[in-house]
């Protein structure tokens, strides 16, 4: 029996906080980049400039929403929605605290992977529908990037799943009560974080929208709120990446003294700051470098990690218990 009012409330809270946080993150990123470049960043509107995103939103809503005559109109319009929808759908399986999750799916990890793969479509068909050479090059790079990171993204999570013995994200968090999975699964964490950065199109893997080379990459032709959707979608996927990293490797809501949701938020905040720090520091890879790196370094690393984890789990479980498994 599903408690509908509880579910509706959870959906409202998670949806509201996700969209608000995505907005605040735009401001946070600009402020932090400012701080790290020895300047201020937006500090005018509201305390510390925290209402900057509100002003940006008003601006972007009132802008002309232009569809180029040479674009494939239907696909062009639908693409920005895909980014946001897939990112928000993934949050359905994110357990913020015990019993504070929209859909406690038994295949939460798979659902997350599926949604992140779907999000890649938006980039690819968005660039294709724009019918613009820069957008097209952006999509091309997105496909190359997708080919390189999707494989080891799934593989890097399998070690965690093996240790927890479940695809359910709540169970995975519960399995980290005594030890965070980042310790036994350190290489898995590295691989996943790298794949996540590529998935969210963040530096150093932001080739699909490389401003210096491709105007704005796959969303060159997008303006007004359609561009805003891409923008929000990108920040939502950063939020999602931080959330999933915390859940899968850093013990989710576990932590002393403070309430579970607060611990979850604090850890997420740490990762968001780390991602912005990476943006402030590292240069962009070439996409052939990412392909080489993905297939020749990270992919074998993820495989070896999975192999060793499997071996250790098998050794600990023992053959006798194994024979009782279905």
């Amino acid at each position: 029996m599903i408690d509908w009012s509880h579910t509706a409330l959870t959906i409202a809270v998670i949806l509201g906080s996700c969209l608000t946080l995505a907005g605040m993150m735009i401001w946070l990123e600009r402020r932090l980049l400012g701080v790290w470049q020895e300047r201020y960043g937006p500090n005018r509107l509201g305390p510390g400039g925290c209402l900057q995103s509100l002003a940006d939103m008003i601006k972007i809503f009132t802008k002309e929403d232009w569809i180029p005559p040479f674009a494939d109109k239907a696909v062009f319009v639908i693409t920005p929605a895909i980014v946001v929808i897939t990112a928000l759908m993934s949050f359905a399986v994110v357990p913020v605290a015990p019993d504070f999750v929209v859909a406690d799916l038994n295949v939460g990890v798979l659902f997350f992977l599926a949604m992140s793969s779907l999000a890649a479509y938006s980039v690819i068909i968005g660039g294709w529908a724009s019918n613009n050479k820069f957008a097209f090059l952006g999509s091309l790079r997105a496909i190359a990037q997708l080919l390189s990171y999707e494989v080891f993204m799934g593989l890097s999570l399998m070690g965690t799943v093996l240790l927890a013995g479940s695809f359910n994200l709540s169970d995975i968090v519960e399995a980290q009560r005594h030890q965070w999975f980042v310790i036994p699964q350190f290489f898995g964490f590295l691989c996943f974080f790298m794949a996540g950065l590529a998935e969210a199109h963040r530096t150093p893997f932001d080739m699909p929208e490389a401003e210096a080379e491709l105007v704005a990459g796959y969303h060159s032709e997008y303006s007004g709120m359609k561009f805003g959707m891409f923008f929000v979608g990108e920040y939502l996927s950063i939020l999602l990446l931080s959330a999933m990293t915390v859940i899968l490797f850093f013990g989710g809501w576990h932590g002393p003294w403070l309430p579970p949701a607060v611990w979850f938020g604090l850890k997420m905040f740490g990762f968001i700051v780390l991602i912005i720090l990476i943006r402030a520091t590292w240069p962009r890879f070439r996409f052939d470098q990412l392909l080489t790196f993905g297939w020749k370094v990270v992919m074998p690393l993820a495989l070896i990690n999975l192999l060793l984890t499997g071996g250790v789990v098998l050794w600990k479980t023992g053959a006798s218990e194994l024979s009782m498994l279905p």
Partner: protein, 180 residues
């Protein structure tokens, strides 16, 4: 294999170096509230100054106009019958929409009349408002050179002194008796 460790180390060191910037003060000057320090010789708005007696220093020699690389200075010389036929500019016009604040006019000026001062806030909504006439340019003070009076050191005869009676001036030399 070594190079991978080197890359990894460099990436981490880079992160740390950037992170350390969290604790440094921004170099930004928050302009309307915070004013930047402008040195006295800063080249900004152009003014026409007066000598310590309160007379205009400009002798309308056209040197500033000639020196100006963008031709933004226009003036017309005239003789002032009230002041010993002294030359003065009838009008003096600087087009600040063209001025590049290079300070060549100030360097060319033999009387320290035209001077650049540390003021840069000259924005206008209409471009024609950037054309400054003489009454906009002329200030009542002496600018950067408080005691300088061209006619006191120029060696020329004026209403109240003869040749050689000014400050730091020797009496005129009789060239006919000046023999080696």
């Amino acid at each position: 294999m070594m190079s991978i460790w080197l890359y990894a180390r460099n990436l981490i060191v880079g992160l740390w170096i950037v992170f350390k910037r969290t604790f440094t003060k921004p170099v930004t000057v928050q302009y309307p509230e915070e004013r930047p320090y402008l040195p006295p010789r800063w080249r900004g708005r152009i003014v026409l100054t007066r000598d310590p007696d309160g007379e205009e220093r400009c002798v309308a020699c056209y040197l500033c106009s000639a020196a100006c690389p963008v031709d933004c200075i226009a003036l017309q010389a005239a003789d002032n019958p009230d002041a010993h036929e002294r030359r003065y500019p009838e009008f003096f016009r600087i087009n600040f929409s063209r001025c590049i604040y290079c300070g060549m006019c100030e360097e060319a000026c033999p009387t320290h009349a035209i001077q650049l001062i540390p003021d840069f806030e000259q924005s206008e909504y209409a471009r024609r408002n950037l054309v400054y006439e003489k009454e906009d340019l002329l200030i009542s003070g002496t600018g950067k050179y408080h005691d300088y009076n061209f006619y006191r050191v120029a060696g020329v005869r004026t209403l109240d002194k003869d040749k050689g009676q000014g400050a730091n001036e020797l009496p005129p030399v009789d060239v006919r008796s000046l023999m080696p």
